[in-house]
């Protein structure tokens, strides 16, 4: 592997396909079996690229430590993890938002309001900014369960279509912030591999701008 190879941390799951699509639109030639592979490291020598496939929440960690030069991470993850990386581009993909939700007609407990979430830092700073002290309960998935079963008064989670909330009889009470995926860069790679990074930023930016105009 040459020293000019760019290592890209990609988020597995929901964002992955859209991210791959975007890279293809930016004229990066990725093999057709890219999506189906179970490998965690994929090298594309002709393009001088190496992809690593990580949990979305872990993408900024790989980039901060410099084992990946660049990465694609949701703004939700960026807000939660507060990693020391450059957030260079808003890719405009995987649009969704962070919101507070609960059982309709219920109020926050006055003594110890409990909030269940995958995003303890985001939730905590949001309620602080609203002048409320709450107790955070960290969960790793199926957050909607928490209010239904009496674990928490409210949840803070990602909403994309709102279907999961609806099917479980929950309503959104407050919207916190809009979320899209971001192109992030390690601070050292941003300078020492400036050419390769700038090239990628430029090509992605062109695709995004084209979409903006079309929208």
């Amino acid at each position: 592997m040459s020293s000019s190879t760019l290592t890209i941390a990609m988020p597995k799951g929901r964002i992955f396909e859209e991210a791959v699509q975007l890279l293809r639109e930016a004229e990066y030639i990725l093999p057709p079996e890219f999506e189906d592979s179970r490998k965690l490291i994929l090298e594309i020598e002709e393009a001088n690229l190496r992809f690593i496939l990580a949990k979305p929440m872990d993408v900024p960690t790989y980039v901060e430590h410099g084992v990946a030069d660049v990465g694609i991470a949701g703004k939700d993850v960026m807000l939660e993890e507060k990693r020391n990386v450059y957030e260079v581009l808003d890719l405009g993909i995987s649009r969704c938002y962070l919101a507070v939700a609960g059982i309709p007609g219920t109020e926050l407990d006055t003594v110890a309001p409990k909030i269940a979430t995958k995003y303890p830092n985001v939730a905590s700073s949001y309620f602080r900014s609203q002048g409320k002290q709450v107790e955070i309960i960290k969960l790793n998935g199926s957050i909607e369960l928490a209010p239904l079963i009496g674990l928490a008064d409210r949840i803070v989670d990602i909403v994309s279509t709102g279907r999961t909330l609806k099917e479980n009889g929950l309503v959104e009470t407050e919207k916190i912030i809009d979320i899209t995926s971001r192109f992030i860069v390690n601070p050292v790679s941003y300078r020492i591999k400036a050419n390769a990074v700038d090239e990628m930023v430029h090509r992605l930016d062109k695709v995004i701008e084209g979409k903006e105009i079309a929208r």
Binding site: H65, G66, N84, E87, V88, P187, V188, I192, A194
Partner: protein, 392 residues
């Protein structure tokens, strides 16, 4: 809370084992020689300082300080860097010394890790401070010396980005008018959030020309950008900053280090600490800068002294990772003796040591497995019974 197990250390604390220690101390002395040649003199300061003086003045974030209390209840900190303590000394104890002063240090500093491992909480910093010199030559000198020091320990293929916070402040002030707005926009740069920066600029009530100036600013990184930077400026103070950057470029050329340095005006390494030229050194395959520094003309003011100053610091632990020297084991000789032959053995050992050898003298009684023990030495001599003086 569980009680720590016997082998555990506080988060971010690391041991330096003999192999690493030797490489580290060798590198340290190479770096010491390099800066001494430029007339810098070493000094030490206490490990513990007052929070209200050095703690407040330091560039380290509050939550990264290790704090403790003294008997009177005053808050103390383990020094988070060496620049603030040296500024304290320069402004007080060494106030009478004629300036410019050239000071060097090599010391352990402490920064608490919040989130997780991966970064040391105690690490050795090596650096210099040039105090009482506000000239561009001084800025050039510390950058050139940093490069020479890194080269002297064998680091190759590294790069140095050079920015100027004076330029950033002036440009933003020209366009935005108030310090408050300048600070708000600058914070996006400091947090490396360019998406937020661009959104913020687009929402500001500015003419499209001024918005473009702020957006173009993000591209002031790389070769030949000084001319572009000049085009964005309209005020006299702005041109002064540009003049300084031109002068610095000439200065770095004179030092012969312009190939290694790149202008990068987007570099904002701290919100308030640095006042002019700032720089960071990067080595391939390391995720964090290996060294950094800059001009901090306001710091000594916090210790009631107006001297201008600049300096650099190198993170010795990162440097060790970057040079990854395939150091061979030092040549060591072991002399194994029995009590009966101790006297001759010691005489032999002394002779070898006088000749400059590294020699271990070991009583045979103290060894468990002879083969396993002798394996680590390059040469073994026995003073035992009949085989005395015989070599293996």
């Amino acid at each position: 809370m569980t009680k720590p197990l016997v082998f555990e250390k506080p988060l971010g604390m690391r041991d330096t084992l003999p192999d690493l220690y030797e490489i580290k101390s060798k590198s340290r002395s190479a770096m010491e020689q390099a800066v001494q040649k430029w007339g810098y003199r070493f000094m030490q300061t206490p490990t513990v300082e007052y929070y209200d003086t050095v703690g407040e003045a330091s560039a380290t974030l509050e939550q990264q300080l290790f704090k403790l209390l003294d008997q009177e209840g005053k808050t103390l900190v383990l020094r988070p860097d060496m620049t603030a303590p040296i500024a304290r000394v320069a402004a007080s104890t060494m106030q009478g010394h004629s300036q410019p002063m050239r000071i060097a240090y090599s010391a352990n500093v402490f920064r608490a890790q919040q989130q997780e491992g991966g970064h040391p909480a105690e690490f050795e910093q090596f650096g210099v401070e040039l105090i009482g010199d506000g000239s561009t030559s001084a800025d050039g000198e510390v950058i050139a010396l940093m490069i020479e020091t890194l080269e002297h320990v064998g680091l190759r293929n590294f790069q140095v980005a050079v920015g100027h916070l004076g330029y950033v402040d002036v440009l933003f002030k020209e366009i935005l008018g108030t310090d408050e707005r300048v600070e708000k926009l600058k914070r996006f740069l400091y947090e490396k959030n360019y998406v937020g920066y661009k959104q913020h600029v687009k929402n500001l009530p500015l003419s499209s020309i001024d918005q473009k100036r702020l957006l173009d600013f993000l591209h002031l990184r790389g070769e030949n950008k000084l001319e572009d930077a000049e085009k964005l400026i309209t005020s006299t103070r702005g041109y002064e900053a540009i003049e300084e950057l031109h002068a610095l470029r000439e200065c770095l050329k004179a030092f012969g280090v312009n190939e290694i340095t790149t202008l990068d005006l987007t570099l904002v390494s701290h919100m308030t600490y640095y006042t002019g030229v700032v720089f960071e050194g990067y080595a391939p395959k390391l995720g964090s800068p290996i060294s950094n520094g800059g001009r901090y003309d306001d710091l000594l003011g916090k210790f009631d002294n107006k001297a201008k100053a600049t300096g650099f610091g190198i993170d010795l632990d990162y440097l060790m990772e970057a040079i990854q020297t395939a150091e061979t084991k030092p040549f060591t000789h072991c002399v194994i003796f029995s009590e009966k032959h101790r006297k001759e053995a010691y005489a032999f050992v002394r002779k070898l040591r006088d000749q400059g050898g590294m020699v271990v003298a070991q009583d045979i009684k103290g060894i468990g497995s002879l083969d396993a023990y002798t394996e680590q030495f390059s040469n073994v001599t026995y003073y035992l019974g009949k085989e005395e003086g015989g070599e293996q």
